[in-house]
């Protein structure tokens, strides 16, 4: 059932790719229909499966000589992320309603990217997972390079190369694991069951983890994220922050941590209190949280603010994973979902609602436009999204951050405290952006040239905003909708991952 999310998206992409000159109106309606169908399938699968364990979707021998199977299955984590992908896809298309240039190609690349993302979240055979992971790279490049803005070619190339480098690292680790196990299988569970020597895991784990974490925006490999987000067109930013960064975090959990759990064992010696890869990555995650927030605080480009905030929020995901506690990983997965929805919303406000009308993202110039009065809708949405993303209770971000911090308290109390500082800085940058753009009431000295009244908010924008805000609020108020599904799946991970690295 859920596999149709993949097939639908790719089929949609193929149709649009073969009809490059079709009318823009048709292309976007078609793409929206495909995305909605994908979301519907994802939701149906999500609801049908309920809180059950992994649901096997497909298992077909693919390359028997190599023992590779086309195996798809969805446990709770996958099902949640599939729903997220569906949401991000639908919202992304709604906020791309105004793409005029090469519309059909745009949505073709968009759907191809979505298809790849669905595939990664559903794949169980690691070869299949990797294939989908790489499929997602190319459309990103073109989406940014063709339809992007500021330094788009640079941003696109940087993103593509970082992703590809990361996936090369992953591939090395996977190949080594495949060959070493001798099991003639790339199935996740087979590989995870194989007891690799600890000395092997100690280098394979950081390699694969880093490879995936590059895409998750782990400091100091995060630099693609802000430039990429800024360069990308709105829908691509939404997808990048919304789901593509999740691919990285998902890979870290699903592949690196599951296959090489002992890679997080202590080295046996320690330097400045750092005695294992687990601590190293937790530290990098915490640095990312604080650094991302601090840099967001001094940006003058509206999109850079959001771009760096994504680095900060993804740091929380990685920190949650490294806690190796049930609650921390629950929180990390929930944070993936929450950040996916909220980052999408923020990019939509900045890139679509505001930028499409004002054609600037400079905080100082925006401040003079009195957007708080002239574009109340944007102001309200940004305020809600910003507050939700900084962890206001009642929205999804809070439940997620809370659980991550709980896990961190158990594993790394000091890091939890520092992450708390990061959250405070997060409040500050959101607030600063809100103040400077929407609530700026310093008198304007030089008159701003008259502009035509801003275009009214379209139905597509309304729908997208309601969809994402509603989701965040729903999850914030009823976190058990997702947690009841996530928790059993996390529980079912190798025991060592939820037992603080012991076992």
């Amino acid at each position: 059932m859920l596999a149709y999310t993949i097939y639908l998206s790719f089929a949609g992409a193929l149709v649009l790719a073969l009809l490059p000159r079709v009318a823009a109106g048709f292309a976007r309606v078609f793409a929206l229909a495909i995305a909605v169908a994908g979301l519907a399938v994802g939701l149906t699968g999500f609801i049908q499966a309920g809180t059950s364990g992994p649901v096997l979707i497909a298992d077909i021998p693919w390359i028997p000589a190599m023992g590779i199977h086309y195996t798809l299955a969805a446990d709770g984590i996958s099902r949640v992320l599939v729903v997220l992908t569906g949401l991000a896809a639908v919202a992304g298309i709604l906020f791309s309603w105004t793409v005029k240039e090469r519309t059909s190609e745009f949505f073709a690349f968009f759907l191809a990217l979505i298809g790849g993302v669905y595939g990664v979240f559903l794949a169980v055979d690691l070869f299949v997972l990797f294939v989908f992971y790489e499929i997602a790279i190319v459309p990103k490049y073109f989406l940014i390079a063709i339809w992007g803005s500021t330094r788009r070619e640079y941003g696109a190339m940087k993103l593509a190369l970082y992703s590809f480098l990361g996936s090369a690292m992953v591939l090395i680790g996977l190949l080594a694991a495949y060959v070493m196990s001798g099991a003639h299988s790339m199935d996740l569970h087979t590989l995870a069951a194989y007891q690799y020597p600890v000395s092997f895991q100690l280098w394979a784990f950081p390699l694969v983890f880093t490879g995936f974490a590059i895409l998750a925006g782990m400091w100091p490999f995060h630099t693609w994220a802000p430039t990429g987000h800024v360069a990308a067109p709105t829908a691509a930013s939404m997808l990048l922050a919304g789901v593509v960064m999740k691919l990285g975090a998902y890979g870290c959990l699903r592949v690196a941590m599951t296959v090489f759990p002992h890679g997080m064992d202590p080295w046996g010696w320690s330097f400045l209190g750092i005695g294992s890869w687990r601590t190293v990555f937790a530290l990098l995650a915490v640095i990312g949280i604080v650094y991302g927030a601090a840099v967001a605080l001094v940006q003058n480009d509206f999109k850079f603010v959001i771009g760096y905030s994504s680095v900060s929020h993804m740091g929380l995901v990685l920190l949650g994973l490294m806690t190796l506690t049930q609650v921390g990983i629950d929180g990390a997965v929930l944070q993936m979902f929450s950040h996916g929805v909220l980052a999408g919303l923020l990019f939509a406000v900045v890139g679509c609602i505001v930028y499409e009308r004002t054609h600037t993202r400079d905080l100082a110039i925006l401040g003079k436009l009195k957007l708080g009065k002239t574009m109340l809708f944007a102001a309200v949405v940004f305020a809600i999204a910003g507050m939700a993303s900084m962890g206001l209770p009642g929205f999804s971000g809070f439940v997620a951050e809370m659980q991550v911090l709980m896990g961190a308290w158990q594993a790394f109390p000091w890091f939890a405290a520092v992450a708390g500082i990061g959250i405070v800085v997060g409040v500050a940058y959101t607030w600063r952006a809100l103040q400077r753009v929407f609530l700026n009431d310093t008198p304007v000295t030089e008159p701003v040239e008259d502009h035509a009244p801003y275009a009214p908010i379209s139905w597509a924008e309304w729908a997208g905003v309601l969809l994402l805000t509603g989701t965040s609020l729903l999850v914030g108020l009823m976190p058990r909708l997702l947690l009841d599904v996530i928790a059993p799946a996390v529980q079912a991970l190798p025991h060592i991952l939820v037992a603080g690295g012991r076992g």
């Binding site: 507050m387 911090l405 103040q435």
Partner: protein, 504 residues
């Protein structure tokens, strides 16, 4: 109705939605909903059991994976605070008749704020308690930022950042508690603390950090109340906020801090607070005395009463910290502690309505003076506006602590309680009483007495609507001054119940 508490929390939020959609007539919506809330709060008050335990409890699982429950309940303190919140909101709505810019949003935010207050005073699980705690913060920020005075921008930000920092401290501390104990339920945690197993559990999970967790929790509340030196946001905020919002801030929101200490900090971290008692008492005395003294030197009426609020709530903190001594079994000590806590709760209510009333009067004066509230700019107003002078005088004397008015009873109970428990602190704090008296008398003298300045000769007096609005409040002050039993009869069992359970 079994879910009265949920209703009273949700009702204002619904009102907010309706107000948002009713545009120019939002004030009518807001009045209706805040009146209904008040009625509900009164009903809850009368439904309370008199054994001091939690009444009207509602619980249902919310986030089962974390063992988090939706858990509501009120005791005497909670119910009293509900009434206070409803009352102050109603007063604030009544005082906001002049709001013309975007009234829909304004009243929606006010009602949302009320919803946050109601939730904070009823929630018994940190998870959603924190939701309401933060929920009350956001509307307040926007109300200041969008409808405030000339320097509203910095003031709003300062307000927000300070309280947010406090919130993060709270959040981290409670997460640590959850990690150690697996629960965030106030009653469950208090139970653990009461049995003396909480600190060992924390130490086992996280090391010897219980004291720091207590500091984190107190930080959150100290900013909100405020406790010096965490008060610097307050004068700016009170001065720049629209006056009706200042009423809410001082009348209801500052009580959230005190409430938090009584509901969260004392029951859970009583032992740790007892360890820090010396420092806390010093800070509380500082708050009382320096708050009063700072009021003396202010030139703006709003700032005068802002600092005076700091001073008044300082008594509450002083009393709370004073009771943080290990139980001795001595009935005299128990009596003193009960008296002090009775005083605290009463003082919360009294200060709430008195301060709100005073700021309402200030709003009236401000409307008539064209915006100015400089203390030296007035004089002899009792001649052109005798009713205003008289009615405001009552409120001012209540604030001063004149016997016969409500303020006296609570301050008396507080000092009655703390003298035996911490006589040094109490002695110094008396200074605060004297200074406050001086401040208020000075205000009365400078504003109402003396010769009439020429430009104020035609200072309009209160009109009928205003008189009818304020008269019930003043009556209430008088009633409580003469018959504090109205409240104490409910509060005292609660306090006794607390003291039986708390462990220092």
């Amino acid at each position: 109705m079994t879910n009265l508490l949920t209703t009273i929390t949700v009702l204002p939020a619904i009102g907010a939605l309706v107000a948002l959609l009713s545009g120019k007539r939002a004030i009518r919506t807001a009045s209706v909903f805040s009146l209904a809330s008040l009625a509900l709060a009164m009903r809850i008050w009368f439904l309370l059991d008199f054994d001091g335990k939690m009444s009207l409890v509602e619980r249902s699982p919310w986030v089962p994976t974390l063992g988090i429950e939706y858990h509501l309940g009120v005791d005497g303190l909670g119910a009293l605070m509900l009434i206070l919140s409803a009352l102050v909101t109603l007063m604030a709505v009544a005082a906001s008749r002049k709001v013309t810019t975007n009234p829909g949003l304004y009243f929606a935010l006010v009602l949302l704020l009320e919803s946050g207050l109601m939730g904070t005073f009823t929630a018994l699980n940190f998870f959603h308690w924190f939701l309401y705690w933060e929920l009350s913060l956001i509307p307040a920020f926007f109300l200041i930022k969008l409808w405030g005075g000339a320097n509203r921008g910095p003031a709003a930000t300062q307000f927000f950042v300070y309280t947010m920092v406090g919130s993060v401290g709270l959040l981290l501390a409670f997460l640590a508690l959850f990690v150690s104990t697996g629960t965030m339920d106030f009653e469950a945690l208090a139970q653990l603390a009461s049995l003396g197993t909480l600190e060992p559990m924390i130490t086992a999970h996280l090391g010897p950090v219980a004291l720091w967790l207590a500091v984190g929790v107190l930080l959150g509340f100290a900013v909100k109340v405020p406790l010096m030196p965490f008060h610097t946001w307050l004068p700016n905020t009170y001065a720049e906020a629209p006056t009706a919002i200042t009423m809410l801030l001082t009348g209801a929101m500052s009580k959230m801090g005190v409430y938090g200490i009584l509901r969260l900090a004392l029951p859970i971290f009583g032992h740790q607070m007892a360890q820090m008692r010396g420092v806390l008492l010093t800070l509380a005395v500082l708050t009382v005395v320096a708050g009063a003294w700072a009021a003396v030197v202010q030139k703006d009426l709003k700032r005068v009463f802002a600092y005076s609020s700091v001073n008044h709530l300082g008594y509450c903190l002083l009393a709370i910290f004073a009771v943080c001594i290990p139980a001795t079994g001595d009935p005299a000590v128990t009596l003193s502690r009960a008296a002090a806590l009775d005083g605290v709760v009463l003082q919360m209510f009294n200060h709430g309505i008195t301060a709100a009333a005073i700021f309402w009067f200030l709003a009236l004066i401000q409307e008539r003076s064209g915006g100015s509230l400089a203390i030296d700019g007035f004089g002899g107003l009792r001649k052109p506006a005798p009713i205003l002078a008289g009615m405001m005088g009552i409120a001012l004397f209540s604030s001063l602590g004149l016997p016969g008015l409500n303020g006296f009873v609570s301050e008396f109970l507080i000092f009655r309680g703390i003298f035996p428990l911490a006589w040094q602190a109490a002695t110094v704090a008396v200074l605060g009483l004297l200074i406050t008296a001086a401040v208020i008398l000075t205000v009365i003298q400078k504003v109402f007495a003396g010769p009439v300045a020429e430009k104020w000769a035609a200072f309009p007096d209160m009109n009928r609507a205003e008189r009818f609005g304020l008269a019930p409040i003043l009556t209430l002050m008088l009633m409580l001054g003469l018959g504090p039993q109205l409240i104490l009869s409910v509060v005292n069992p609660t306090v006794v119940h607390w003291l039986a359970g708390w462990r220092f």
